[in-house]
């Protein structure tokens, strides 16, 4: 009874705190503590709500260094039943194609799954590609930008998809994948008891060897990634030339600017 739901989650640097080295063009990931990608918390909450209604299980899965175990503990404290970390140096350097392929192999390895719920994107990569790519690797239908789940049964799910210009009501046969927006729910805060329980829970760590029987290992990590970031630059800070207006004349100056720029 119930649905077996998988929620892929990612540990990301806290975007408010992370430092960027403008000189050499790199991101200093050690400058900020890792946190769960905020969009993934909505995905997890959606999964837990379905489990509360229909029964079943919620499995959180992540790929990353061993530090990402803390993100999976966070997922367990918020209602996931099982947590799997894909961690291996052979997985590193993966772009979205290699990441989605690796996740697909791990989900196949899990056996039965009915629904995969992803956040719409991550705050670091910001591509929103892993969800739909994962659906393709698994050869299942998907609906992106789901802002509401209307009906769930063991055969199908009816959702509202926010396509930017309008909302569409879409029915999808299970197994399927959906990506959810922040509108779908407000993620719950874990209780202290849940946190303590999660601290002791076991996180399964899988390496490339664990997936070797269902995967082509050359498609993992850097070797499986067709795209390369070869340069990083920083957006020009417009504000170096900000013109500050103060006092009584500010409104008149503003009107002049609007007039000059053709807005009046």
């Amino acid at each position: 009874m119930g649905l077996h739901i998988v929620v892929p989650i990612k540990q990301v640097p806290d975007i408010e705190k992370v430092k960027f080295d403008v000189e050499i063009g790199r991101i200093d990931r050690s400058s900020a503590p890792g946190e769960t990608n905020p969009f993934d918390l909505n995905a997890l909450e959606a999964a837990v709500q379905i489990k509360e209604k229909l029964g079943g299980t919620v499995t959180a899965i992540s790929m990353g260094p061993l530090q990402a175990q803390s993100t999976l503990r966070d997922a367990l404290s918020r209602g996931a039943d099982r947590a799997i970390l894909l961690s291996d140096v052979r997985f590193s350097g993966a772009d979205t194609l290699a990441t989605s392929y690796t996740l697909a192999c791990a989900i196949r390895k899990l056996g039965r799954f009915d629904l995969i719920i992803c956040g719409e994107k991550t705050v670091d990569g910001d591509t929103g590609q892993v969800g739909p790519e994962l659906a393709e690797h698994l050869d299942i239908p998907h609906v992106a930008y789901v802002s509401e789940i209307r009906k769930v049964s063991e055969e199908k799910i009816v959702v509202v998809s926010d396509m930017g210009d309008a909302y569409y009501l879409v029915e999808v046969r299970l197994p399927a994948l959906i990506t959810v927006t922040k509108d779908i729910n407000t993620p719950r805060l874990p209780t202290l008891r849940d946190k303590l329980k999660a601290r002791k829970a076991k996180i399964e760590v899988w390496t490339a060897d664990n997936l070797a029987d269902v995967a082509d290992v050359s498609r993992f990590g850097l070797s499986g990634s067709p795209t390369t970031v070869y340069e990083i630059t920083f957006p020009a800070e417009k504000g170096k030339n900000v013109k500050i207006l103060r006092g009584e004349d500010a409104v008149n100056e503003l009107l002049e600017i609007l007039e000059e720029r053709g807005f009046l």
């Binding site: 909302y167 927006t181 630059t233």
Partner: protein, 338 residues
């Protein structure tokens, strides 16, 4: 085996209307194709959209592949993917471009995964380098960095952000071929679009003028003032996330990383401090005016003009002055008419 060559653009349409991103893609696509000495093609899927195919040629395509069938009326991502993957395998374009709209960002990754090729999301520019490689330029880390990306597989695929590149030039004297393709529908995809629930009240991503407000607004009723300023400037109201979360205004108005990414000609931020998430959603606006009481607010770092002051003084005075001017103008118009 045939070599990969040429640039192919996915022409997005909704309810028979071509999305304007298509013309922007064709403009860039034409530039790239000319640099590579290759062909530019468009591919259009829909129902009763034949007359739209010719438009793609006017905007720069050398040829257009047309798939016209009742089952392509609504966007079924799996069906669209199947057709496009087959076409790409047949035609072997070197570069395949899709708009980074929500539809494009749902569709393109499936195609890329099916073809086992690289895809770069949400590009703000594309360039051909001295080796003839496509350089894909995109923001990441909530807009904090700009990454330059190359792809080693073919086709090179990218989605491109709306309203960043200029549209191609429309020239009705252009000639090109429309190739009508057979649509084979085989089996159920598992997806059924039941209906369009509702259109959005405001399409903020397409607005030319946005007057936005944030936490500096003290109560819900004060939104009227922001609405009035927006309407005097011919614009729409935007909001930062806290106001949406409070339930003061619908999500359709939200500007920011988790709401709408906007690029109006004019953005006036009233009482918005400028969190990284908000800035990621509006930093590309042409002219940014920030009104904030706190001179150290981060919004001033990306603004063109900053007014350090209380929005409750500045905004009503602006409204008053604009009304006065309008009154003068309307008065003049009336006297001309009589």
């Amino acid at each position: 085996m045939r070599k990969y060559s040429g640039v192919m653009v996915f022409a997005e349409q909704r309810e028979g209307e071509t999305h304007p991103i298509t013309f922007e893609l064709l403009g860039k696509g034409r530039e790239i194709a000319d640099k590579l000495g290759a062909e530019l093609s468009g591919v259009l899927l829909g129902y009763q959209v034949k007359d739209k195919a010719r438009e793609l040629i006017y905007y720069g395509a050398d040829k257009v592949f047309l798939f016209d069938h009742p089952s392509l009326k609504e966007f079924d991502v799996v069906l669209y993917k199947r057709i496009l993957v087959d076409l790409i395998k047949e035609e072997k374009p070197e570069i395949f471009l899709v708009g980074a709209t929500r539809l494009g960002r749902s569709l393109a990754p499936r195609i890329a995964a099916a073809l086992n090729t690289g895809l770069t999301a949400d590009c703000i520019d594309l360039q051909i380098d001295e080796n003839g490689d496509l350089v894909q330029i995109r923001p990441a880390f909530t807009g904090n960095i700009i990454a330059h990306i190359k792809t080693k597989t073919k086709p090179v695929m990218a989605t491109v952000r709306y309203r960043v590149l200029p549209p191609g030039r429309r020239d009705v004297s252009r000639r090109g071929k429309v190739i009508v393709k057979e649509v084979e529908i085989s089996g159920d995809t598992g997806i059924k679009v039941i209906r369009k629930e509702r259109a959005k009240r405001v399409r903020i991503a397409e607005a030319d003028v946005i007057v936005a407000c944030g936490r500096g607004l003290r109560k819900r009723e004060d939104l009227k003032m922001i609405e009035e300023l927006a309407s005097l400037l011919g614009g729409v109201v935007g909001a930062s996330r806290p106001l949406v979360d409070e339930g003061w205004i619908s999500r359709d108005h939200q500007v920011g990383f988790s709401g709408n990414v906007v690029k109006p000609r004019l953005y006036i931020a009233c009482g918005i401090s400028g969190s990284p998430q908000h800035i990621a959603g509006m930093r590309n606006s042409e002219v940014i005016i920030a009104i904030n009481i706190d001179p150290s607010a981060p919004i001033f770092k990306i603004a063109d003009y900053g007014v350090v002051g209380d929005l409750y003084e500045i905004v009503p005075r602006l409204i008053g002055e604009l009304k006065k001017r309008r009154g003068v103008r309307d008065g003049r118009k009336n006297s001309e008419e009589t």
